[in-house]
Symmetry: C2
Subunit: 386 residues, 2 copies
Amino acid sequence: MRITRIVEKTAGIKSNIRNAVIDFSKITLSLVAVETDVIVDGKPVIGYGYTSNGRYAVGEVLRERIMPRLMEADPDSLLDADGYIDPHLLHDCLMKNEKVGGHGDRAHAVAAVDIAIWDAICKAREVPFYREVARRHNGGKALSLVNAYPGGGYYTEKGNAGLRDEMKGYLDQGYKLCKMKIGGASVAEDIERIEVAQAIVGEGNLAVDANAGLNRERVMAYAEALEPYKLAWFEEPCDSLDFELQTDLADRYPHPIATGENCFSRQDAKNLLRFGGLRPDRDVVQWDPSMAYGPTEFIRIVELSRPLGWKPESCSPHGGLLLGLGLAAGLELGGTENYPLVFQPYGGFSDDAVVENGMVAPCEAPGMGWETRSKLYNEVLKPLLD
Amino acid sequence: MRITRIVEKTAGIKSNIRNAVIDFSKITLSLVAVETDVIVDGKPVIGYGYTSNGRYAVGEVLRERIMPRLMEADPDSLLDADGYIDPHLLHDCLMKNEKVGGHGDRAHAVAAVDIAIWDAICKAREVPFYREVARRHNGGKALSLVNAYPGGGYYTEKGNAGLRDEMKGYLDQGYKLCKMKIGGASVAEDIERIEVAQAIVGEGNLAVDANAGLNRERVMAYAEALEPYKLAWFEEPCDSLDFELQTDLADRYPHPIATGENCFSRQDAKNLLRFGGLRPDRDVVQWDPSMAYGPTEFIRIVELSRPLGWKPESCSPHGGLLLGLGLAAGLELGGTENYPLVFQPYGGFSDDAVVENGMVAPCEAPGMGWETRSKLYNEVLKPLLD
């Protein structure tokens, strides 16, 4: 298996939503396509990947550093015993001449390539991504249904009425657990929003996400105000690097805390789990494979988490993509996010995915299953190599 | 004070040296110049900055994210009470719409702009950088002489004879403490190199730098082999994010360890100091202001280090630049690096700087003093806005 071509392109997400911290109208992402010399159904296998919709495009890192290393490598040096590209050898190749630490933009660039190569490997083997992950890393066991929740409840001009309608819509679509944003208003206003949403979804089925936008005083004020609502989790109360504040919060807030999406390497993840004050018996870790060096690193993080007391069920990939769904199914994780309304056409499961009782089946198409999302595939991914 | 123009440019360093991990021939860096509306000596004040020679250029991050935020900001919103740009307000402006965590490439981009603005502020005030730092952050106290050591001893084709000549050359130039690379050879070969160098510089005057290129087994083998030489410090024995290995090393290796150059934010620095196993009574922290959001963040890190038990004397900026010399003088730090032979024309002090008994005076030119390095100024920086 050889890579015969690789291209990257920057795209905008043109979203008018905001959370506690970010205005998404200027956010961009990087798309990657790789063509291989493997022929399936008479055509060369092509793999696709893209970075998160939550950060920025990394075109220069891809063009100047990551992609040339892949194309300059001896193709045979990247292969496993079966003749397919080995994701670990790939990772080392992409990271050649990169220093330790500073896991920022380059982690997204490597992720996009890693995702595209996994997509290509699975297509070459003619298996769905989740099956390949399960075979390699989970003794062949996989979930037939995965807990899925919509990441929504952003601040919009429609206010609380819009929030109510949005939550109703999620239930109509088959979701049980729903997530909404907090931290972009006063505590009192957010509590009102929480009551509006919880009245629809029911106690225990609402998670809230502060997007790390709260300072110490606000974190503690929210913790006190949120406690009676017994939320499914309180996501990113603060910067997950603020181990001190997070530990203090965990000492006072009895219900689950969730974090991890802004932690981009196994080294950082290990330190977060060891020193971040999180509680393996209740908290949720949400690594984002499209920001943190791709599924290869994600799997390593899940594996290093076990000896630290973290079961796979405590992990739920951030970012509502087929990628997260596949990892959740293949590693038997606790769940995965989805973006039914936002970040289109990048976020979301297959066009024909059915959510029932808050659960969804993994995609059975070969590879990541990008082709099962027609707008994403036809308008964004396929044109990359046309 | 207003920024009237800002430009960035990528440059290569075309260096054929290597350390344990990195081949420098492909390394690039980003240059930044800002023009202001402040007139001194009949000309607009111009500030310059550049990223580290140890990572890669960040042109896209500068062009697409950091620079537009500066130019789109209300100029008055960035000013302090004296009418100059306030570095903290500047930092917040440059980081608008950036998420928490992931302190990688963008930390270098912000650093280049922050350095250029500090250069401009000091030129507008007609004071040397170190004096301005001392006035703002050190009660006006500054060092008149700073400990300086050459970062050298790379692996070259000249072998041990070349290393011996290089160390002799440093002593002839007035240096006492000298640093050399290790980890790019076997332990036995490196011990031979250390003996060659130490025979020239004398016990206590040699530091070694492994550039985080050693795995656990090699770290421990080096620790045992290095111990009898009573080195000034053992720099970057491992990835500074590997708190576990670093702690184990600190438990076994009695002499100073140095690290910090690959830690790019105050959040990361705090965690390293709290959980990285380092010992404030002997170890050395080496934050790099040209990689880690610039002097503004560097000063914050030095300030947050104090309550954690770290005195300013334990800190020595990484990267051999006038920038590090100015910070060391203005904050009364333990020393600073210099690059007499490598990374030219970017590394190094003023052309007329005199090192005596291992010490050098800070640069008295207004701003960073880039103009006192003729090749750097005339061939690289000045043309940016010509």
